[in-house]
């Protein structure tokens, strides 16, 4: 699980061009949206594509997305439980 969290942090930094962030700057329970990393709706689309491409998870329900993208911790657990690749 720790390896997956680190991988997710690296992917988020790279995919979303968070130039000023390093893996150590993102805590496992930091909020991804709102007051945490400050991601927005375009970032949400990028994360949905990342889930599909890298882990074979298709998110179609917007409410499910809200619950999944709470933090790296929650996202990593969701991926572990649902990944197809």
């Amino acid at each position: 699980m720790d390896a997956l969290k680190k991988e997710l942090k690296e992917s988020i930094i790279e995919q979303l061009n968070l130039e000023d962030f390093s893996v150590d700057d993102i805590a496992d329970d930091d909020a991804l949206f709102g007051d945490g990393l400050g991601l927005d709706s375009i970032d949400a689309l990028e994360l949905i594509v990342m889930l599909d491409k890298d882990y074979g998870i298709k998110l179609t329900d917007p409410n499910e997305g809200k619950a999944v993208f709470v933090s790296v911790e929650v996202l990593a657990k969701y991926i572990t439980d649902n990944r197809t690749k």
């Binding site: 995919q15 979303l16 130039e19 375009i42 689309l45 990028e46 491409k53």
Partner: protein, 342 residues
């Protein structure tokens, strides 16, 4: 046509041109095929949140535009007009490669949104919260000049009093290699490196305390031959009540290819006794490179001096009032731009 007063001129290029006090001192020469821009610290111009999705051309454009407004002491222009030859090629390449690499699946929106040619003008407007006229011109090597003509007409027709006008182009990472490959197959290829840059200018319909020169005339035409170019330039000068002898410096867009013969024709005839300058060896060739030439023209009048690195002959003048810029690419998209003191 009424004169357009120029109140600021800003350049981000392959030389250290963003520094106001440095008019082409300690220039860099290029050995390779590319002349990449010297990038400023963009954090001075943009918040990390705003800049994280911006590609090179957008960052350069927004930074140059903001500095041009700052120097002109202008908070909000009436219009923003931009020229670009190849737009945001970096994001276009990213998006198109993602289509190929992922077999048309898993496409993300960011690079597609940012890949349009008007992204630079749009991002400047968003940054300033400017809801005025905003147009981007894409006309090959006459893209910047097309933007300036639009600004000139708007000021002439009193549709705007202050306009931010500029040109941006970025090198990108992939297409440029094909362009270099194709160019090298030519019998007389372009000899200067390929470059990139962003140049912005604040224009106004009225003279301000910080106005330092004026755009007197600008003409674009698509074709010319060595036996017609002299007639065309004389006609342009006549329209502006000048003769070739009135020109204190002529800036030529020479890039070393076969079409330099058009410039040479003028160097050997009507401008034989005029200070002759070139600039593409400093900024590289790109569709809006002539905006770098325009920046030089404004600076010559402002500073009343010509850096040695620009000169093609040893003729000098005691003062510089009328500076003519002539640019073309591959014998097409010719432009004459006349800048004068005010």
């Amino acid at each position: 046509m009424k004169p357009c007063y120029i109140n600021s001129a800003v350049s981000i290029s392959a030389q250290d041109t963003l520094n106001d006090s440095n008019f082409l001192e300690n220039t860099i020469s290029f050995e390779g095929k590319l002349a990449e821009a010297i990038h400023p610290n963009y954090k001075k111009f943009l918040s990390p949140i705003a800049s994280r999705r911006m590609a090179t051309a957008v960052k350069m454009g927004v930074a140059a535009a903001k500095k041009a407004l700052e120097l002109a002491k202008l908070e909000m222009p009436d219009a923003i007009i931009t020229g670009t030859g190849i737009g945001c090629i970096e994001d276009s390449e990213k998006f198109l490669n993602a289509i190929l690499d992922n077999d048309e699946e898993f496409l993300t929106p960011t690079s597609f949104i940012q890949s349009t040619h008007n992204t630079v003008g749009a991002q400047i407007a968003l940054t300033l919260k400017c809801k005025g006229y905003n147009v981007t011109y894409v006309q090959g090597a006459a893209s910047f000049e097309s933007a300036v003509i639009d600004a000139q007409l708007m000021l002439h027709e009193n549709e705007a009093n202050t306009i931010l006008v500029g040109g941006t182009d970025e090198l990108g990472k992939f297409l440029i290699n094909d362009i270099i490959f194709a160019e090298e197959a030519e019998e007389h290829p372009i000899q200067t490196p390929f470059g990139e840059g962003a140049h912005f200018f604040s224009l106004s319909s009225y003279k301000q305390t910080n106005s330092f020169c004026a755009l007197k005339g600008l003409k674009i035409f698509n074709k010319a031959r060595t036996d017609t170019i002299e007639t065309k330039i004389k006609a342009f000068l006549k329209e502006n009540y000048l003769v070739p002898e009135d020109i204190d410096a002529v800036i030529l867009g020479k890039n070393g290819d076969a079409f330099d013969v058009l410039y040479q024709t003028l160097q050997d005839s009507i401008f034989r006794d005029t200070p002759q300058l070139h600039y593409k060896h400093l900024c590289g060739e790109f569709f809006t490179a002539s905006a770098f030439g325009f920046w030089i023209a404004t600076n010559i009048i402002k500073q009343q001096q010509i850096p040695d690195v620009l000169t093609l002959n040893s003729i000098a003048k005691s003062s510089y009032k009328n500076v003519l810029l002539y640019n073309q690419l591959k014998g097409q998209q010719h432009s004459f731009t006349l800048v004068t003191s005010c």
